[in-house]
């Protein structure tokens, strides 16, 4: 995965670093993060402050926003796009999908409607990304 431990020579003190690609926006900054005794002490390569936060989270608690679809009964489309209202732990993605696959909602669906209150026991809701009208 992206969290490779690499040895970097530059400036001596960057002896042990993690190399990461920030995924918070499409710029995809390459980060060099230095971890000492289980703590993040320095981040380089980030073009905005969010890069530091990302490095901290990605090294210790990686999370992702789940985007998927949920089956709709009686709608103009048979599925509605949905996303987790907040990022969820990365390792919960496939477990969350197990729940999503079992789910069917009735049309009409509103934007932002909660489709699943607590996805994969993360405490995060799954919400609709658009409206889906009912078939007349």
């Amino acid at each position: 995965m992206m969290k490779q431990e690499v040895v970097m020579e530059c400036e001596g003190k960057w002896a042990q670093t993690s190399e990461l690609t920030c995924i918070l926006c499409p710029q995809g900054c390459r980060l060099a993060a230095k971890v000492e005794q289980g703590e993040l002490v320095e981040v380089r390569g980030n073009r905005c402050p969010r890069g530091k936060v990302y490095a901290q989270e990605e090294i210790f608690h990686p999370t992702r926003t789940l985007t998927t679809t949920v089956r709709v009964r009686g709608g103009v489309y048979s599925v509605v796009p949905a996303k987790s209202a907040r990022p969820i732990p990365k390792e919960k993605l496939l477990e969350a999908m197990e729940e999503v696959r079992k789910l069917t909602v009735d049309a009409p669906v509103e934007v932002g409607q909660v489709l699943l209150a607590d996805v994969a026991k993360t405490g995060v809701a799954l919400v609709a990304g658009r409206e889906i009208g009912s078939v007349e």
């Binding site: 690609t21 918070l24 499409p26 992702r64 489309y77 990365k90 993605l93 934007v111 990304g129 658009r130």
Partner: protein, 476 residues
Amino acid sequence: MKREQVELVVIGGGPAGMAAALGAYEQGVRSIVILERDRELGGILQQCIHNGFGLHYFGEELTGPEYAGRFIRRVQDAGIRVLTNTMVLEVTEGRQVYAVNRVDGMTCFQAEAVVLAMGCRERTREAIAIAGTRPAGVFTAGTAQRYINMEGYLPGKQVLILGSGDIGLIMARRMTLEGAEVKGVLEIMPYSNGLNRNIVQCLDDFQIPLMLEHTVVEVHGRERIKGVTIARVDGAMQPIAGSERYLEVDTLLLSVGLIPENELTRGVGILMDLATGGAVVNQYRETRVSGVFACGNVLHVHDLVDYVTEEAILAGRGAAKWIAMRRGCRIEVESAHMGSNNVCDGEMGLALPCDEEMDANDYADGSGDLGVDLSKSSISEISGEVEAIAEMVVTASTNVRYVVPQRLVMPVEEDVEFYLRVIKPLERGEVVMRCGDEIVYRKKERCLRPAEMVKVRLRAGVCKGAVLTVTVEEVG
């Protein structure tokens, strides 16, 4: 056949078309119609259910449908007329737009301005000529995306993806989440053409291998695809004998490039840029046929919808300005102000009747003859009068695949934002713009990649002369 007079026809109701219509609306244009061939507005965003849209424009991360939804509401709130399930068949140089739908049959819209916003389509198996049988189960990635995300069908269970563009990467994750086994993503080039973040969160997160310098050399199966033969390629992108390997798959997705959908544009006789596959435009996104504008993926394929929106607003404002000028009434256009010496007989005066296509980048390769060519290309014959139009040619040079806009109407009174792509990836490079020998812009950029469009803002005051040359030079 129905006939209608409208001020502005926008062809395409995706992000570009909606933003262009809104851009014109904000400048006071009220007689607008958006023609959309799908059953609803939103375009390709409606099937792009992943997030990452809107970071530049809205400052927050949205999914495709959410981004589209915001613009759909704005279009509705403005009361802009939209005809869905409506296919445009032809556009003429005189800005007649022929469209057909089930309700009205055929309609001819006589428009004062037209914005082309038809988007792009995917290259197919035929475009890259893969050998083998012709079974079911070979899809473009975007088609599979629509099946899964809008129609609710999973196209297959054992998948190989050819092409590591963003759609390919995103579909690798999407099909994995839906329970399919994605055996790998093949890329013929030595680097991926997708965004870094997509390689991380779509492939690395799910341990999907990215096989660089690999391609599919044969498709197997009669009714349904049963497998593919893949091979490593050499520096000339030719399969290396002996490196072939068979993979059992029931689905092959192709993410092998996008083509601006310019059949209508060509029908008008608009000058095209072979490097972008779209029209040659000036800073207002006006094509070489007066009153016809282009924006979004039909002009050049973007990687971020936020930039599509920005560009389309410019096109919409340009169209509004043109409409106002034809009326002989001057309106102030906030950031799309046209120089008054470009006006002849109430026209913007950039008409260039042109039948042949030419590569805008080859256009100004020479130097000595350039002034002559340029004066020819910037003469507008309107009402029998010949008027010289001051215009600057923008050329993509060293390590620049293309630059948009390709022309600047002079004088340039507002800062101009250029979009460009590099030919080869550079870890560190410097974007340099020159008017003649004089350097008018230089900026160092990190991680320049062909897949990531570079945006450059040039101050209005520095644009002078006949040619602006754009290069990206390696920094040691």
